[in-house]
């Protein structure tokens, strides 16, 4: 909300600067986003060059038909009488006018110089409202009231320069959506006197009582608790005075006509939205506040035809809807230039219902923005009085006696029990009881410190219990804690000392949280960079994978209101996001990256969680959100350097990384060919991929080369992508188990290398398994240190070089021991795998 500084000061005697006011408001709960300086530059020297003047003579310019040559009195201090050339036509000698003198800098930034207009000198300018910044376009200069003192600074009467506070208001404080409400906050926080409400009614009433010209019926009191109207006859619709245009413009509304401007001014100033009908256009002299009929149509003031539903309230006459209640008027009963009699509406509507109407019609007006927050029905009479007085004063109307006021029920005043000591307990600092009472009273709460009859009047503060009646414009004050907040914020949170809670629990990470950290650190340690991709993807993101029909990964969690189709379903795999990240890097001409991501996937699988009974309708379920680790390798980890050629990434790179990551969790893994599981992983190269299983956890994922056609479908044509996906939720329960010490052994180990030739189809893991078993308990380790194919090795075979490490816990091994083990291994390999020593 935009709050002109000079307007607030009409209601509270603030002597400080606008910046100090902004600080006061911000620190007491009304956030000031900024101060917008509008109008002419505010420095005193510049403002002294804007004065009230009086036209003494007006003659034709000797050399120009459209200009007049005037003498204007601007006061002794400013040089007495000035000669001014003026192009406007709407004034005559004797008029009081706004003059900017030579040297003044205007709102537009223009600096006035002594001018020579068609051979005649002009010392200053008579200003229009456009030049004052109150209107976009003005036909002539502004004519001021004759009572204004000639020679006086114009700023004393009109905001030539204005500082506008830009407030960010919260939805719980409908009372702050008015200048008077803001002034009340200022008064409370700064301990100043608040001016009486600006809502005095018209001085004179006349004509037939309002009730004789108008009947009001409220069909749906739950949606329209109060509907009141006054009748004003004989108004002249026209232009608003400059001060009113200034107020509206600075507050962010456009001046339209004096009648409409008054209703807007009262809404801004007092907080009660109003609507003015042309009484002559109301058919049947009756207004009805009712639900719209389904499909009922109305043409709103913006010229759009709108179709209504039966949750929306309209104000109708006996034939047709005239207003979408509290939201937007129609052209049918609009005040126009010929309007003479007015029906002025001030009503109260259900906040939630207005909010709903806004959402369904897409209309949000200054009025609906206030109603949606739940306004006080007690604002209504003041709003009517305030506006009808101004309509009488500014538009020449005569206000009819009486108000037609249909009010189902006055809001009941909550009486709250309040313990000042409880405030101190919750805030952690003491605010003296008398100050607490003072704060609450400045906020217009009734404070009864008497308490219960049993409590003596001299009760110690720690047991005192007060009865507080908050004002009806504060619907947010319904409990003791709400009052404590008022006391705390007005007293100031800067009073709070800084303490730490006294009792504490032991902090720490859970097992799965430690696992997440460990695997993240390990993968980064392997040289991978961590990506975080959006968890929502396109519905066709998995199309290239060729997943089997019915696969759970193809039934994602769908958003009903996504921002775009590309982000409309929750991911069921990390793969598309990671490939997208690879592609984004390649597109930016970065080297192909090696990335990992740790995050949830979202599955409607057999592990969805039913909602607790208190939390949702029966049958509601939440998807399963297992945490996954994804790895994609697109480039070398050992890069080319002057020290060597580097090493391209291949399956063993990926496997080594997965092994290292699991080792960081104190786990080992078996890698087995996909076999039948290829149907579940159709996007992996069938011969260059493996299932990963972890002892104790079973299968935890798959690793392998992405099929080239799949990579190409994702737009990565020329890169080999190695991909791993691991189910962290399955790994975590067995991970990071406490390690148990293993004796280092006092006797030296012995190593034997043997190269064996086996069929290509025989897995290295099988060769190792046979060797280990045959080697017996002296064999501590068997691993492959070289693989050789071709040369003298037959085409369907390969040579595996094994290193067998032996050790005894009891003695140094003899040549005989070593030879024995070697022989047993060779025999077993020969017998079980038809291996031959090379």
């Amino acid at each position: 909300m935009r709050v002109p500084f000079s307007w607030v000061k009409e209601y509270v005697d603030w002597r400080g600067s606008v910046e100090e006011l902004a600080e006061l408001l911000t620190m007491s709960g009304t956030e000031v986003e900024g101060i917008d300086w509008v109008g002419a530059p505010a420095d005193p020297d510049n403002l002294s060059r804007f004065v009230v003047g009086k036209v003494l003579t007006r003659d034709k310019h000797p050399n120009a038909d459209k200009l007049s040559l005037c003498t204007v009195e601007v006061g002794e201090a400013h040089g007495g009488v000035h000669q001014i050339v003026c192009g406007a036509d709407n004034f005559q000698a004797g008029d009081t006018v706004a003059v900017s003198l030579t040297g003044a800098t205007l709102e537009s930034g223009l600096k006035l110089k002594k001018a020579n207009l068609r051979g005649v000198e002009s010392h200053g300018m008579m200003m229009s409202e456009q030049e004052l910044g109150y209107e976009e376009k003005s036909p002539g200069i502004v004519i001021l009231p004759d009572e204004w003192i000639v020679g006086a600074p114009l700023q004393d009467y009109l905001p030539v320069s204005e500082a506008v506070l830009e407030l960010e208001l919260t939805s719980n404080r409908p009372d702050c959506f008015s200048i008077y409400g803001i002034a009340r906050e200022v008064a409370a926080a700064a301990r100043l006197e608040l001016a009486p409400p600006p809502t005095a009614g018209p001085a004179v009433l006349g004509g037939a009582p309002a009730a004789e010209s108008l009947a009001v019926e409220v069909a749906d009191p739950d949606l329209c608790p109060r509907y009141a109207a006054q009748v004003i006859r004989g108004v002249r619709v026209g232009d608003s005075p400059a001060w009113l245009k200034a107020r509206l413009t600075h507050a962010g509304m456009r001046p339209i006509s004096n009648v409409v401007d008054v209703t807007n001014y009262v809404m801004l100033g007092w907080g009660q939205p109003l609507h003015a009908f042309d009484a002559g256009k109301i058919r049947g002299a009756k207004l009805v506040a009712r639900r719209a009929h389904v499909g009922e149509r109305i043409v709103t003031l913006d010229g759009m035809e709108r179709t209504l539903d039966d949750h929306m309230v309209v104000i109708a006459d006996v034939e047709r809807p005239l207003v979408i209640a509290g939201v937007f008027g129609s052209i049918d009963a609009e005040v126009d230039a010929h309007t003479t009699d007015l029906v002025l509406e001030a009503a109260n509507f259900s906040g939630p219902n207005i909010l709903r109407t806004e959402l369904h019609t897409g209309i949000r007006s200054e009025a609906s923005n206030r109603f949606e927050k739940g306004l006080d029905a007690n604002l209504v009479p003041g709003g009517l009085d305030f506006a009808s007085r101004l309509l009488a004063d500014l538009c020449g109307g005569v206000v009819a006696p009486g108000t037609v006021d249909v009010w189902s029920e006055a809001p009941s005043l909550p009486r709250l029990s309040y313990r000042p000591a409880k405030a101190d307990d919750l805030l952690g600092y003491a605010v003296p009881a008398q100050e607490q009472a003072g704060i609450l009273r400045r906020l217009e709460c009734e404070v009864d410190e008497g308490g219960a009859p049993s409590a003596p009047s001299h009760a110690a503060p720690s047991t005192a219990e007060w009865t507080i009646t908050p004002p009806t414009f504060r619907p947010d004050l319904v409990r003791e804690v709400d009052l404590i907040e008022e006391v705390g914020r007005i007293a100031g949170y800067d009073l709070a000392p800084e303490t730490l809670p006294r009792h504490r629990t032991a902090g720490g990470l859970t097992g799965p949280q430690q696992v997440r950290r460990a695997i993240r650190r390990a993968l980064a340690g392997c040289g991978l960079d961590e990506a975080i991709t959006y968890t929502f993807v396109a519905p066709d993101a998995l199309d290239p994978l060729g997943l089997p029909e019915g696969d759970v990964r193809l039934s994602p969690v769908k958003l009903s209101n996504p921002m775009s189709v590309e982000q409309s379903v929750m991911r069921t795999m990390l793969l598309p996001g990671l490939i997208g990240a690879v592609r984004a890097n390649v597109d930016r001409l970065n080297d192909p990256p090696n990335l990992f991501e740790i995050g949830s996937v979202y599955l409607w699988d057999d592990q969805t969680s039913p909602a607790p009974a208190q939390a949702a309708e029966p049958g509601a379920v939440l998807p399963h959100e297992p945490e996954a680790v994804g790895i994609v390798l697109a480039g070398p980890l050992e890069v080319e350097s002057w020290t060597g050629a580097g090493r391209p990434t291949d399956f063993s790179t990926l496997k080594g990384i997965v092994e290292a990551a699991l080792r960081a969790l104190r786990l080992t893994a078996d890698f087995v060919p996909l076999g039948d599981a290829v149907a579940h992983f159709p996007y992996l190269h069938p011969g260059k991929a493996a299932l990963v299983s972890v002892p104790g956890a079973g299968g935890v994922g798959a690793v392998g080369l992405l099929r080239p056609d799949v990579a190409a479908a994702y737009g990565v044509d020329d890169l080999k992508l190695y991909f791993a996906a691991l189910a962290l939720d399955r790994i975590a329960p067995v991970a990071l188990k406490t390690a148990t010490f293993e004796d280092l052994g006092a006797y030296p180990p012995a190593a034997q290398d043997l190269a064996v030739i086996v069929d290509r189809g025989i897995a290295a893991a099988d060769v190792i398994a046979v060797a280990r078993r045959a080697g017996g308990k002296l064999t501590r380790d068997v691993h492959v240190f070289d693989v050789y194919e071709g040369g003298q090795v037959p085409a369907d075979k390969r040579s595996l070089a094994l290193r067998v490490v032996m050790r005894s816990p009891e003695r140094t091994l003899s040549e005989r021991d070593i030879a024995g083990v070697r022989a047993k291994i060779l025999t077993a390999l020969e017998r079980e795998l038809a291996a031959a020593l090379r």
Partner: protein, 363 residues
């Protein structure tokens, strides 16, 4: 041989002393190992004067034998020691001379070892976690696809509450066996959590006070520009215990900001509104760039908003069956990206999700 010893030897066996000094000079003068070997042979070898002297001892008069025997052997040990020392010295000199010719360009790059990076968001979350673990908090977690009840209703934000409209919620098409296909779209029970606050309720449902937890994770709002991404990360803190005050909240948050941002950063608490805290506050930290004087980055206020917080609203306790007359508590929430942006001077939120390695590798 010490000078004093040599003087005594000169007095008592002048011949032997002369022999010693001559041999010593020969050894010390050897300029390389070959010369040293020659010196050793000439002074200690079988044909050396010393060896001949020692060999001649049995032929000497009996009274001279002990002196010359002892003295001769002493001289021999001395000379042997000198040869050893001289040899070590000569070898060291030779090695230094040869090393002096071995040169490499130490300005060439080192062998490139792969070094990866945890995402800045992960690093920031870990940092925040560790600060609160140090204060005795545990890390709580909850689902991202969440029930309206936990995200709004149980946080004192019932349907039609105006505060809901500020959240720009993503709604999820529900999956229910009992529900006809036609109404799935219309249903409004499941959503992407708009903040981490629902975890508060889940934690309190599962445990009684005292509660000291922080929750970190992804949250979602329908918004996208330089300062908003539809997915971002939040940190949520919740404390419920006996006698918890707003002053405890202030002390905790000031400790946190000093640990996180370092230095003497001040905080201030401004009143605000959240449905699930009462009183509610927003917390600002003093601007580091201008030291609080006001600059462009802090919109000339000297302060940077970093989080929302407040005392847990008693209405929330009603949902989880806590007694607000017995316990009180505070909650706070902040954006992880915003914290990281402020700390590292990152201008655009979207950088976090571009996954450009040039960004990832800076942290």
């Amino acid at each position: 041989m010490e000078d004093a010893e040599l003087q005594i030897l000169k007095q008592r066996a002048p011949g032997l002393a002369a022999l010693y000094t001559t041999a010593r000079d020969t050894i010390l003068r050897a300029a390389d190992v070959v010369a040293l070997e020659q010196a050793r042979v000439s002074t200690l070898g079988r044909k050396s004067a010393l060896t001949e002297l020692l060999r001649s001892i049995p032929t000497l008069p009996a009274e001279d034998r002990p002196l010359l025997g002892k003295g001769g052997n002493m001289v021999r040990r001395e000379l042997e020691g000198l040869v050893e020392e001289r040899e070590a010295e000569l070898r060291r000199q030779a090695l230094s001379a040869s090393l002096a010719h071995e040169r490499l360009d130490v300005t060439l790059p080192g062998q490139p070892f792969p070094a990866g990076h945890e995402h800045l968001i992960s690093q920031t979350m870990r940092e925040v976690e560790d600060i609160f673990i140090g204060l005795g908090y545990r890390i709580a977690e909850g689902p991202e696809v969440e029930l309206d009840y936990y995200n709004f209703t149980a946080l004192n934000t019932p349907p039609s509450h105006p505060a809901r409209s500020a959240h720009d919620t993503f709604w999820v098409v529900e999956q229910r066996e009992t529900m006809p296909e036609a109404v799935m779209d219309a249903d409004r029970g499941v959503l992407l959590r708009t903040h981490t606050s629902p975890v508060q309720v889940r934690v309190m449902e599962q445990q009684r006070p005292p509660v000291y937890v922080v929750c970190l994770g992804k949250v979602y709002r329908r918004d996208s520009d330089a300062t908003h991404t539809p997915m971002f990360h939040q940190v949520e803190g919740l404390v419920v215990d006996e006698g918890i005050t707003l002053a405890d909240l202030k002390g905790t948050l000031h400790h946190f900001t000093q640990e996180f941002f370092g230095g003497e950063r001040a905080i201030r608490m401004r009143p605000h509104f959240f449905p699930f805290t009462e009183p509610s506050i927003e917390v600002d930290v003093s601007c580091e760039l201008c030291g609080g004087k006001g600059c462009r980055s802090c919109k000339h206020s000297g302060w940077l908003e970093i989080m929302g917080a407040g005392m847990v609203d008693p209405a929330v306790y009603d949902f989880v069956d806590y007694d607000s007359e017995k316990v009180s508590g505070f909650a706070f929430g902040m954006g992880v990206e915003r914290m990281a942006m402020l700390k590292h001077g990152i201008p655009d939120l979207r950088l976090f999700y571009d996954n450009d390695v040039r960004f990832l590798r800076q942290f």
